[in-house]
């Protein structure tokens, strides 16, 4: 049984009030921020969610933990349905799922000391426990912070230090799953590397699964086992990370990989450049929703939505004209 199974998840937001949509005769005053997303995450593994800003990555993560309400679909954690639980029912599960938010400093309560922040999970889930100081020291050393940080306030921390505090808090109750929304956002490149290797090391030691959201392909490539590429709230492609990086099928994935700078200036690749801008969720394009930006668009794409095609290794994509050449191979042939 997979640790986390998400099936056909749909999250919609109302964009017009009830009265306004009635007056304007708008039968559909909603946008779908996440649409029919399915994936599974095995225990101890890492899944990466990739996509441009506004594609629904964060919404998906928040719907999984119940911060936003999903309209349809199922989210099973260790076989138990998460959607529709009351706060009380969800409480025992909350200690098994920890979430890290984008803003390293902003996700820490500004008037509490690091000591209070890191020990809060214990106070909430194991009330009456006294020996919190040992746990505090253990967690601080685990994330590489010295004991004197316990007395600091969030505004006295650098981004990297605050992120480490966030990691320590997430690990406090030994969760089975950590959801990290842009764990490297707002950090210097060198610090980004530190945080990623910290997360990878902790995963080796503690064996928790991770769901990492990022728009940074380097981040995703090095720490994830599987990735899902999101566009307009849907997965356009997902599969094992090496497989997707080596043989991207969907032109969008291909374009994202092409946009990722390579250190070799002479490398010639078959680059895919996207056309135009991301369409509005209010007016999803007909047919294949990517057709407005796709360089390989054909007449079929404009009218018929592509089916999801499944390759071996659970490599899924939805495209009428999948790419076959791999970007890495293209580099080689270009040189030869």
């Amino acid at each position: 049984m997979a640790l986390l199974e998400v099936e056909n998840l749909r999250v919609r937001f109302r964009v017009k009030g009830a009265v306004k949509s009635l007056v304007e005769r708008d039968p559909d005053p909603f946008i779908d921020a996440v649409l029919n997303v399915s994936f599974t995450l095995e225990g101890g593994r890492t899944f990466g969610l990739v996509g441009e800003s506004g594609c629904g990555k964060t919404t998906l993560a928040r719907a999984i933990v119940g911060l936003l309400q999903a309209q349809r679909g199922t989210v099973r954690f260790s076989g138990q349905e998460l959607l529709g639980l009351t706060d009380r029912q969800a409480r025992p599960l909350r200690r098994q799922i920890a979430m890290m938010f984008q803003d390293p400093v902003g996700s820490l309560s500004p008037r509490l000391t690091v000591r209070s922040i890191i020990t809060e999970p214990f106070k909430v889930h194991e009330p009456g426990r006294q020996d919190l100081e040992d746990d505090l020291q253990r967690l601080l050393s685990m994330v590489g912070l010295s004991p004197e940080f316990a007395a600091r306030y969030p505004h006295q921390l650098s981004g990297g230090q605050a992120r480490r505090v966030g990691v320590a808090r997430a690990l406090a109750l030994n969760p089975k799953l950590i959801i990290a929304d842009e764990p490297t956002a707002g950090l210097d490149v060198s610090v980004q590397g530190d945080i990623l290797s910290l997360l990878a090391r902790l995963q080796d030691d503690l064996g928790m699964a991770m769901l990492i959201i990022s728009h940074n392909l380097h981040v995703v490539r090095h720490v994830t086992d599987r990735i899902g590429i999101m566009y307009l709230g849907r997965f356009v492609e997902q599969g094992r990370t090496e497989e997707v990086f080596a043989h991207p099928r969907h032109p969008y994935t291909h374009a994202l990989l092409s946009a990722n700078p390579k250190p070799d200036p002479d490398a010639v690749r078959d680059q895919v450049e996207l056309l135009g801008e991301v369409p509005s969720l209010l007016a999803r394009p007909a047919g294949c929703e990517f057709h407005t930006r796709c360089p390989f668009v054909s007449a079929t794409c404009r009218t018929v939505a592509p089916n999801t095609i499944r390759l071996e290794g659970a490599h899924l994509f939805s495209c009428h004209h999948p790419r076959v050449a791999s970007p890495d191979r293209a580099v080689l042939t270009g040189r030869g």
């Binding site: 902003g106 309560s109 809060e120 909430v124 007395a151």
Partner: protein, 297 residues
Amino acid sequence: MSATAERVSIWPTGAWSAAVKGLRRVVREPLGLVGLILVALVTVSAIGADWFAPYDATEINVRNRMLWPSLEHLLGTDQLGRDLFSRVLYGGRIALEVALISIGLAVVIGLALGMLAGFGPRWLDAVLIFAFDTVRSFPTIMFALAVVTLVGPSLETIMLIVVVTQIPVYARVVRTQTLALKGSEFIMAARVMGVGTLRIMTVHLLPNVIGPLLILASMDIPFVVTIEAGLSFLGMGVRPPTPSWGSILNDGYSFISNTPWPVLAGGIPLILTTLGFTFLGETLRDTFDPKLRRIIE
């Protein structure tokens, strides 16, 4: 000096040193210094009225009526021969009592209602906002006169009026702050962690909304002092013979052709107190929370 002993502070890095530092910044401002001195003067004289007052504030001595200031009667006497200096001291005590108790109550209730409106369900927010708007739509003094007419004048009536009219002011500020913080990541982090609503409000929200509220409340003290004096001046506040700056003013106003001293004795402390608290409150606001200026004005 020996270099061996290391200074160890028993205070956490936060509260105490911040308070001392803040006070230093307040005193450095000329207005802040003047305000602080005036407030200290009024507070000390109100607390120590029993020791400082040379006479009983209600003792009538008709033979000594309307005396001019002398060593025996520092501010002279009123039309019933009561010592004005003693009356001013006790009047100050009443003014501060009314201000502190009623503002304190209004802050506590306003804080609770404001957080409830900001954090609770939409309908509750709508109901509370409607109630606040209704209360605030009456001009304070008209509302006060109406209540006094209904309930009858007394110290408690004044306090009740102040509490009722100030709750919406504080609750609104708290509600706005709560709404702004509600969607912030540290609150979401707490919710995902499984922190209950009560703990989110007291541990995570409260410390972030209380600072501006306390500054705002300190700026309302002069307002409440004038409300008390105003109602007492109109004979709708503190009952005679209990001294109040408002009733001293009224007495002096009736006999102003005979002696100017009661009016001065009642008016000058009122002006100084109001100015003192206003200066102090404004300096506190500007030093601790310059952003607040925009919220209030």
